[in-house]
């Protein structure tokens, strides 16, 4: 019998991260990235996968966390001033900004409660006065806007609308929900590793990989790095990642994913 687990709903990845940081009573400037990432992935794994839009927003952050995690393992990059750069710095800034607005939203809520007690009244304009209601001067209102201008504005509206619609996807009859779990992906990756011993990350992505699928594949690779199945090399940050298999992929089956 399954247990009904109910997850607290977070407004987004930042909300969840702040919660984890609070819960672990850790310093926001010194986030224990391994622990937090683990807990974060734990939560995401338990999320209702029905709403892919929501899940993918959380997955993007998961990828960021794993990216930071891997950077923490590498020698620190040095900026122009010769200072070591903390891979977490950008995330910390984002978290602090988000926290600030969250705080302000509570302040606003208090204000709203205070302001609620007042009543207003509808206009009660005496007949004699209402008779003088001015006409709108349309000529003045319209000013130098011409029909041609109106036409241009409408064309711009059309252009924007066209840009918003993804012409490829809009031609699909319906969009199939794609289930991408770490476990399934791991099986696929294992299969790939049996056939290829040395390859690039981008090679292993299938042609129509969705964003979510790419992220999950990346997560799986990071897991394999951690557990010592593969080694990776990357020449530049924008170069492809070279992956070398260093441990028998058959043993992957014994791997326990944090799910």
């Amino acid at each position: 019998m399954g247990i009904n687990v109910k997850l607290q709903v977070f407004e987004g990845p930042l909300d969840l991260l702040l919660h984890l940081i609070d819960k672990n009573k850790v310093n926001i400037y010194d986030i224990p990235i391994v622990t937090i990432t683990e807990q974060y992935l734990d939560y995401v794994n338990q999320m209702d996968k029905e709403d892919l839009n929501v899940v993918s927003e959380f997955l993007v952050m998961a990828a960021t966390l794993l990216d930071i995690k891997s950077k923490m393992l590498l020698p620190k990059e040095v900026n122009e001033e010769g200072e070591e750069e903390d891979p977490r710095a950008e995330l910390v800034e984002k978290l602090l900004e988000y926290k600030l607005f969250k705080h302000m939203s509570y302040e606003l809520k208090d204000r709203q409660m205070d302001a609620e007690g007042s009543f207003y009244k509808l206009p009660t304009i005496p007949k004699e006065v209402a008779a003088y209601k001015p006409e709108v001067n349309l000529q003045e209102l319209v000013g130098d806007v011409t029909l041609v201008r109106l036409n241009e504005i409408f064309e711009e509206v059309l252009r924007r609308q066209e840009e918003k619609i993804d012409p490829i996807r809009s031609k699909f009859g319906k969009i199939e929900r794609e289930e991408v779990s770490m476990a399934e992906k791991l099986v696929q990756v294992q299969d790939y590793l049996r056939k290829n011993k040395r390859f690039c990350f981008r090679e292993m992505l299938s042609k129509n990989s969705s964003k979510v699928s790419v992220i999950v594949t990346f997560l799986v690779i990071l897991e394999l790095i951690k557990t010592g199945f593969v080694q990776v090399e990357q020449e530049r940050s924008d170069a492809d990642i070279d992956i070398t298999v260093v441990k028998d992929p058959e043993l992957i089956g014994e791997l326990e994913l944090e799910e």
Partner: protein
């Protein structure tokens, strides 16, 4: 409640209601006797009168109403006459262009095109007399349909809607092509790395 507070409460009630309020109702809201309420109203009335205020309280058969003192009608007329600062903002122009080209159109369709709720913009255009309701769409919820007015034509100096500059099919196609091309480029980049 002391007498000052009763007066203030009555003032608040009459102000909010705007219309005439029966004495009975006032007394009930304050949980006091009608007599006590009446006395308080009378004190309040005198207060307003003696100070030559802009507001008056009048009595209408056991009901009371707060209204504007007649002395200031002249001033109010000036307020009413004062030209409102009216401008066609970007938002209004955009909404107007959609209504002009797509009429008859519902608010929902306008929202779909603009991607944002357009209630206020449509209301303003109707208030200005550039747009009007044309009837209701024969569909669930029977939503209102909007279109442009004769004043719209007059203001823009055209005889009929046919004179609106044409949006050619070509242009629409061109937009589609452009959008597709951009996407293709993106896809190509993706494919490149996969080879």
């Amino acid at each position: 409640m002391n007498t000052d507070r009763i007066e203030a409460a009555i003032e608040a009630i009459l102000f909010t209601m705007g219309e005439s309020v029966p004495l009975e109702k006032i007394a009930a809201a304050l949980e006091i006797e009608e007599e006590e309420a009446l006395a308080a109203i009378h004190r309040l009335m005198k207060h307003y009168e003696s100070e030559e205020r802009g507001i008056r309280i009048i009595e209408l058969e056991d009901s009371f109403q707060m209204c504007t003192s007649k002395d200031f009608y002249e001033t109010l007329i000036k307020v009413a006459k004062a030209p409102k600062k009216q401008v066609l903002t970007d938002v209004l122009l955009e909404t107007l262009s959609i209504i002009a080209y797509k009429q008859p159109i519902t608010k929902m369709e306008i929202e779909k095109i603009r991607g944002v709720s357009s209630d206020r913009a449509v209301s303003k255009l109707v208030e200005y007399g550039l747009c009007k309701e044309l009837g209701r769409l024969d569909a669930p919820g029977r939503p209102l349909l909007f279109g442009t007015t004769e004043d719209f034509l007059r203001t823009f100096g055209v005889q009929s809607l046919e004179e609106l500059p044409v949006i050619s099919e070509d242009l629409v196609e061109q937009f589609k092509d452009e959008a597709e091309m951009e996407l293709d480029e993106e896809l190509e980049q993706d494919v490149e790395v996969q080879v």
